[in-house]
């Protein structure tokens, strides 16, 4: 089983080789190092998948990391069913996106650097999902954040890219602070950080309280909420969602790999991993569900009016992540992970396809300057349609099964569940609308860009389209592992597969109810598409009329609810002012510089006085010596 340590190790080796020798020796052959590494990880991950499919769990202790008194942490890896799914998602998407990057990043001067960072990211992500204790997970968690920062700011000559990278890093810090505290609290409570040890004791600590800032709070609830803080930051949920749309400044393969398929789902993975803790705390579960549901609808409304093709998909990602948390919050952990898995395929597909469009238009991202690309880029158009059918939840595409499972589980989860189901269904309607709007604005109608751009329009090369086609197959078929029993006997294979880790969701409903949920969600999916078709293909003036009729609403959505502005005035400006006035003006310039400059000044003053003693006159030296000698003799003489 030790061979499975190679899963994260291969990308790490590729990173080391590329970063050390890339600039001078490997240069534009960096993918010859990176792609074999990730393919190796993929093959090992498939092997691991079949090893755990029988129900056993692989546990590898690589070495003792920290041994200090009672605090023992090993750098250990664990592969259970949940990890196996994540490994497949990461390595499959990773492989396809690596291949895609060969075409997309061709000729970039940072080519080797790009692949080096991608390898480091894959390593970190694999460590995150494979860790067998919270500290290893935390290491991976922080490392993926670091790689995300590197890759968002990949084109660091562009100021907006550098700013977006910083924003992502700093916003994540808020969440990670909570996560860190959660991990510490887990150690204080359970005395260990091993998943097995912690989750085994989870039940016995339920109901215990702890004094936190003067309040008696439920211990497990507090731990769960702190952990969830980390998930909110990493998975871009309200109120820490602001970094993800800005992260689109990075190259498109990065958006697809990190900010759609893998890293942002780390929060979902973490909550699913900690399900034995969350189950003990209804408050934490409800928080997760409500944050997820509200984010789903909140992000979807913003996506309705955005014009940047990647931003629409970014908000769509935030919204879909909200769905996943909604599922986790109502106790349907396997449904959340199932959606994570299907989402990875269709969202990576949508991102890479939009990258193909951007590539063809020479870095044009504004959909108002696109249109009519259907006849120039047939393959991209086709895969985009498949991705959209999948995300909107049309039978039998992948998104249908996972989204439907979430809505159905929400529907079963009591009164609040019904409310969440309503939120989810409305979000599904909005999702359908903005996804089709994107298609119609980009691929239909007449081309609205410059004639020079039109002249250069072309379908992307094979190295780009082949990964797209493979992902399209995934976007169609990935959901078939989770066909609900409603359609097929012995269905929901993925739920059964994950059951040893995530348990079975509670709640039972009649077939009639389930048909109702399926029917409604299919209906809204189609409805959204029809409305978008009417507004953006048939009568293109309607969209503008609606926008001007509801000007304040449009402005609110267009400016993303002014959340960025709110943070700017309430947080960023005060902090900047405080650091300028207090830290820089007072502490640094007055106190620290006072001390640093004061000591030499005092010494200088003394020395200037002292050096006048050295007169250079022989006589005075001699006199001083004589007087001194006399004094010593006199002292010795009179001492007796």
């Amino acid at each position: 089983m030790i061979k499975y340590t190679l899963i994260p190790l291969l990308p790490l080796i590729a990173f080391v080789i590329n970063i050390l020798f890339g600039r001078n020796y490997i240069r534009d052959k960096a993918h010859w190092v990176a792609i074999p590494a990730i393919v190796g990880s993929l093959l090992l991950a498939i092997s691991a998948f079949f090893d755990v499919a029988g129900g056993n769990v692989i546990n590898i202790n690589v070495y003792d990391w920290i041994v200090s008194g009672d605090f023992n942490v090993s750098a250990g890896l664990m592969i259970d069913q949940l990890t196996a799914i994540m490994l497949l998602v990461v390595t499959i998407c990773g492989t396809l996106i690596f291949i895609y990057s060969v075409g997309y990043m061709h000729g970039d001067e940072g080519y080797y650097r790009f692949f080096a960072y991608l390898c480091l990211f894959i390593f970190s992500m694999l460590v995150l999902v494979m860790g067998n204790n919270f500290l290893v997970m935390y290491f991976g968690w922080e490392a993926v954040g670091l790689c995300s920062y590197f890759l968002i700011g990949f084109w660091f000559n562009k100021k907006s890219a550098g700013d977006a990278g910083k924003k992502a890093f700093i916003v994540n810090r808020f969440g990670d602070f909570g996560f860190g505290l959660g991990v510490i609290l887990i150690f204080l409570t359970f005395g260990t950080l091993d998943f097995v040890g912690v989750f085994g004791q989870a039940g016995s600590f339920a109901g215990q309280t702890i004094n936190f800032l003067g309040w008696e709070v439920d211990l497990v609830t507090l731990i769960c909420l702190l952990l969830f803080c980390g998930a909110v930051g990493k998975s871009a949920q309200l109120p820490l969602h602001v970094w993800l749309p800005d992260a689109m400044e990075g190259p498109t393969p990065v958006s697809a790999l990190i900010h759609a398929a893998t890293m942002v789902t780390a929060g979902v993975f973490m909550v699913a991993r900690c399900n034995p803790l969350f189950i003990e705390s209804p408050i934490a579960m409800n928080t997760v569900a409500i944050v997820g549901g509200v984010t789903a609808i909140f992000a979807a409304t913003i996506a309705l009016v955005q014009n940047d093709i990647k931003r629409v998909i970014a908000y769509s990602t935030v919204s879909q992540l909200g769905y996943m948390f909604l599922a986790l919050g109502v106790g349907a952990f396997s449904a959340g992970v199932f959606h994570l898995y299907t989402h990875a395929f269709f969202k990576a597909l949508l991102f890479l396809a939009s990258g193909s469009v951007i590539h063809a238009l020479h870095n044009e991202q504004d959909m108002r300057n696109m249109g009519g690309l259907k006849k120039y880029m047939p393959i991209t158009y086709a895969v985009f349609i498949i991705g959209t059918l999948s995300i909107t939840g049309i039978f039998p595409f992948a998104g249908f099964f996972s989204k439907d499972e979430i809505l159905w589980r929400a529907f079963l989860a009591g009164d609040m569940g019904k409310f969440l189901w309503l939120l989810g269904t409305i979000a599904a309607l909005l999702t359908s609308f903005y996804s089709w709007r994107l298609i119609f604005m980009t691929f239909h109608g007449d081309f609205r860009g410059t004639s020079e751009q039109e002249h250069h329009l072309h379908e992307s090369p094979k190295v780009i389209t082949v990964p797209l086609m493979i992902l399209a197959v995934g976007a169609v078929a990935a959901g078939w592992v989770g066909i609900p029993p409603l359609f097929m006997e012995h269905g929901d294979k993925i739920g059964e597969f994950l059951a040893p880790v995530l348990g079975h969701p509670s709640g039972h409903g009649t077939h009639a109810q389930e048909w109702f949920v399926v029917g409604i969600s299919s209906l809204v999916a189609v409805l959204g598409g029809i409305v978008a078709y009417v507004m953006y293909v048939k009568k293109t003036d309607i969209a503008g009329k609606i926008a001007s009729a509801f000007k304040p609403v449009h402005a609110l959505l267009y400016n993303k609810y002014y959340v960025d502005e709110l943070y700017d005035t309430t947080l960023i400006q005060p902090v900047m002012k405080a650091s300028d006035k207090v830290i820089l003006g007072f502490i640094d310039k007055t106190i620290i510089e006072g001390i640093v400059n004061g000591i030499p000044n005092v010494i200088g003053v003394f020395s200037r006085k002292l050096r006048t003693i050295q007169t250079g006159v022989f006589g005075s030296y001699g006199l001083a010596m004589t007087v001194g000698a006399l004094c010593i003799i006199g002292y010795l003489f009179f001492q007796r």
């Binding site: 006048t612 050295q614 007169t615 250079g616 006159v617 022989f618 006589g619 001699g622 006199l623 004589t626």
Partner: protein, 100 residues
């Protein structure tokens, strides 16, 4: 037999003359001679005590002092000549390059 106190007094007088010469004169060669005078004043008292106490140690010490004085005179005069080549003066007060 000359009493010990006479030697001591002679030594003290010579020493004081040396100190006075060192402090009062500005000519560097004279200052040198004054230093020699002080050293020899000490030598006289050492020899006197040596004889008085019937111990040879004091006389051995005198040899050391004479040796040191010779070395000191050699080096000092060498410095003086080197100095004189650059600054044609032997006045001590003019050598104030190191004045603070």
């Amino acid at each position: 037999m000359v009493p010990l106190s006479w030697y001591i007094i002679l030594s003290a007088v010579l020493f004081c003359i040396g100190v006075f010469g060192f402090l009062a004169r500005r000519n560097m060669i004279v200052m040198f001679i004054s230093i020699e005078l002080m050293l020899n004043a000490v030598n006289i008292s050492l020899v006197a005590f040596s004889h008085y106490l019937q111990q040879v140690t004091g006389q051995i010490l005198v040899f050391f002092v004479i040796t040191v004085a010779a070395a000191e005179a050699a080096i000092g005069l060498a410095i003086l000549i080197a100095y004189y080549k650059n600054n044609p003066t032997v006045k001590a007060d003019d050598a104030s390059l190191m004045k603070g």
